[in-house]
Amino acid sequence: MTLKDKCAIVGLGYTPQGKVPGRNAMSFYLEASKNALSDAGLNIRDIDGILVQPCLTDPRVTAFGLAEEMGLDLRFGADQQLHGASSCAIIQHAAMAVDAGLCDYCLCAFAEVSRSASPPAGIVYQMAGGTNAAYGMFGVAASYAMIARRYMHEYGVTSRQFGAVAVTFRKHASLNPIAQMREPITIEDHQNSRWVVEPFHLLDCCLISDGGRALIVTSAERARNLKQPPVYIMGMGQGHPFNDPLKRQILTVSGAAESGKTAFSMAGISPKDVDMCAIYDAFSFVVPMQLEDLGFCGKGEGGAFVEEGRIALGGELPTNTSGGLLSEVYIQGWVGTHEAVRQLRGDCDERQVPGAEIALVTSSGGVLSTHTTVILRK
């Protein structure tokens, strides 16, 4: 009954990323899809399923619109909007569809054009929350800041510990040729960077970027005959707290708790078996919080955990080895999925985690409102 190891990720597509002006979302979806096909060694006509995460700044692209641009009739297709949590959710639905025989090769794609969008992405990401705007409450960052403040209050985590996340991921990005921000930073740089919304300094906040990503999911059996070493989907889970954080009974436990529990249970492993993580890092503090909720350390121990070098390359749990959303690029949850697959393929050069066999990937949307996890193995 379980989906454990039944399906695999067999193709990864990238595009130019960072600040890439003059392109619309569809062009990124198409380029990423073409590159994923080439990476997998598949023909365009092999694709019979498409799942799309719609682009927030250009929602015109749909699974069926993409199929049309590719000249494809589909057996399976849908758009899934879990915002930041869409990547791991889409991998889950692709695996379910393949396993159910609804399609053989499911193309999954997303593009972000918020850096160069017109009108600017600010209109989306700075959205005012109705009545809350009357009180000056604007934007996604401020809602996260409310959670971060409460997290600091309940568990004594500190801004310097948040800074340790930013510094670590920037160091990882310095080893990644396609990362948007590669200049190393120090804790002092973090502490001295301007306030955005307290307790967030600028360096606590993710980047704003353009770029597309695609990947292809097929059955484990088909995967064995393709160009790349298969990366098997061992476990998956979801956990979705209330959309409005102020309505949540507990603000400081993320959807990762439920999402991770389900994924570990399907995979039949525990956190100590995981070689590396790709954690959705829209803001620095959500990294220690999710690591706690996933069981890599006790509740409230995440601050010390990230400060002691455990999540750095060479540490016991290398995390966001590409630089993540904080330093590689902001293409939502697809940054983590792609890096984890590449690590398991052994394709990460200078930043390769030696002997990486099992990776855990999270994606998270809204204000920690949607959360999805996949566990992958080589």
Binding site: T131, Y135, L251
Partner: protein, 138 residues
């Protein structure tokens, strides 16, 4: 006064209108479920606890504590430029719901989680009154 007031005003619809009419009278009201006693904010059609549609508006204590807060340095709306840095607080009312608001008579550096507060009313235009909060001294 309303000509000069440039900050965003609340979105008022049929569901939330009693809340804003009460605020204008300087009363804080919430919807309470007649079936299970649950208080909800913001206003809605049903009780999220038991799905009853028997909600009544009741006056509440106006007392609560600071659950969490943030300080805006980034200016997202030009009308708040003169206020920055300014705090937005999440007040946990004694009746249960939490709401975003502002504190009056309190410096940013004095804000603390758990701080007791009470409602005050700010008549920002001739039509609109915003419930805000101030520290409780007693």
């Amino acid at each position: 006064m309303s000509e000069e007031y440039r900050k965003p005003l609340p979105n008022i619809d049929d569901t939330s209108r009693p809340y804003w009419e009460a605020a204008r009278r300087h009363e804080l009201v919430l919807q309470k479920c007649r079936d299970c006693g649950h208080y909800r904010y913001p206003a809605g059609a049903t009780c999220p606890h038991c799905l009853s549609d028997k909600l009544e508006w009741v006056r509440v204590s106006g007392l609560g504590t600071i659950y969490t807060w943030t300080v805006f340095h980034q200016v997202y709306h030009p009308a708040f430029a003169q206020d920055a840095p300014y705090a937005v607080v999440a007040v946990e009312l004694d009746e249960g719901p939490r709401m975003a608001s502002n504190l009056v008579d309190c410096k940013i550096e004095d804000i603390q989680v758990g701080m007791p507060v009470e409602v005050v009313f700010d008549d920002v235009t001739a039509e609109i009154t915003l419930p805000k909060f101030r520290p409780r001294t007693s």
